[in-house]
Amino acid sequence: MSASPVPGAAPAPGLGRDLIALTKPRIISLLLVTTAAPMYAAGSPSIWTVLLVMLGGYLMAGGANAVNMYLDRDIDDIMARTRLRPIPSGRMSPQQVLAFGVACAAAATWMLAFFVNVLTAALALAGFYFYVFIYTRWLKRSSPQNIVIGGAAGAFPPLVGWAAVTGSLDIVALTLFLIVFYWTPPHFWALALMKQVDYGRAGVPMAPLVWGERETMYQMLWYTVILLVLTALPWWVGAFGLLYLASAIILGALLLGGILQMLRAARAGTPWSGPAWWVYKYSLLYLALLFVAMAVDRALAR
């Protein structure tokens, strides 16, 4: 694939760096945690299986992110936080980005189907299609439920990890899917609360723009309540032990506390952006630590 600079482009930081930027590596790192940890929770995979699934998962998610940047190229130029991406800055053409994204997804599908199993490849590909077509193409610009339903795309990695080890799905895998699903709205709405101007300018109907700030914060609270209940369910069915349960309770209480603090500040009419930032950042750590706790719990129980 040729990636010669587009005429009039901004100074190039290097093709390699741009290709990596297209995959959004910082976001993928959390997806990889929610893929790898369920693998160790489900069984005792070989290091090669784990590495293959990590590589396949990175390529699939990276491909989806690149196609997302292709489809969103018109609004990426409007929003301050996306203006420096390879397409809006003119360093890569839209066709190059689309080709890269599709190639990544195709390579990931082949790799996962050939070296792991077909169910794993099918689930990873379903996540790709969900992200590209349901979230980016359909919901992102038409519904405040964009993050809720679109969040299902980010919930596929635990299914991928589980299927890679067991070759099937069960209630624990479904619960892990729902945990990520219900975690997504509080996480992204914390960001949306702080980036309302950007989203409004780009015409993306994020919840704060449609429901208002206060209602969005309450919705974050309700989703978090369900999330915390769901995190206890694997313990209740006996899949994980007390170490996991204690971790889930402590980590969840901190998340709930952050959201309540943000709500209290909003209700008192005092600045709430500090607590909102904290919720956004902590929710990333929350999900990573929760999934690590699952793997550690199972490793110690074996």
Partner: protein, 98 residues
């Protein structure tokens, strides 16, 4: 940790009740929405024609969909635990994974 079946069941129903209350508030926001913000980026976006009003029937469908998954997972969990009634109060991991 060994607990009686009654304690496990009570915890389950408390969890279901908490989810039901939270889910009702989630549904209420879509079925009986508050008026949109009259000032700030939302109002600016609407005035400039950038923010379209979402389709109400679709919004309702989207918000009901996760409830179905949630109910399914609770029913499945209950059946799994009570499939081995009379057995030890803690379901083994092998039973879950098989």
């Amino acid at each position: 940790m060994l607990m009686s079946v009654a304690v496990y069941d009570t915890l389950f129903w408390v969890a279901v009740a908490a989810c039901a209350v939270a889910q009702l508030f989630i549904l209420k926001a879509v079925f009986f929405p508050a008026p949109p913000p009259m000032a700030g980026p939302a109002a600016d976006g609407r005035a400039a024609g950038r923010l379209r009003a979402p389709s109400r029937p679709l919004e309702m469908a989207w918000v009901v969909l996760p409830v179905i998954a949630l109910v399914a997972v609770f029913v499945w969990a209950w059946q799994l635990r009570h499939a081995s009634d009379g057995a030890p109060s803690r379901v083994s991991i092998s039973a879950v994974l098989s």
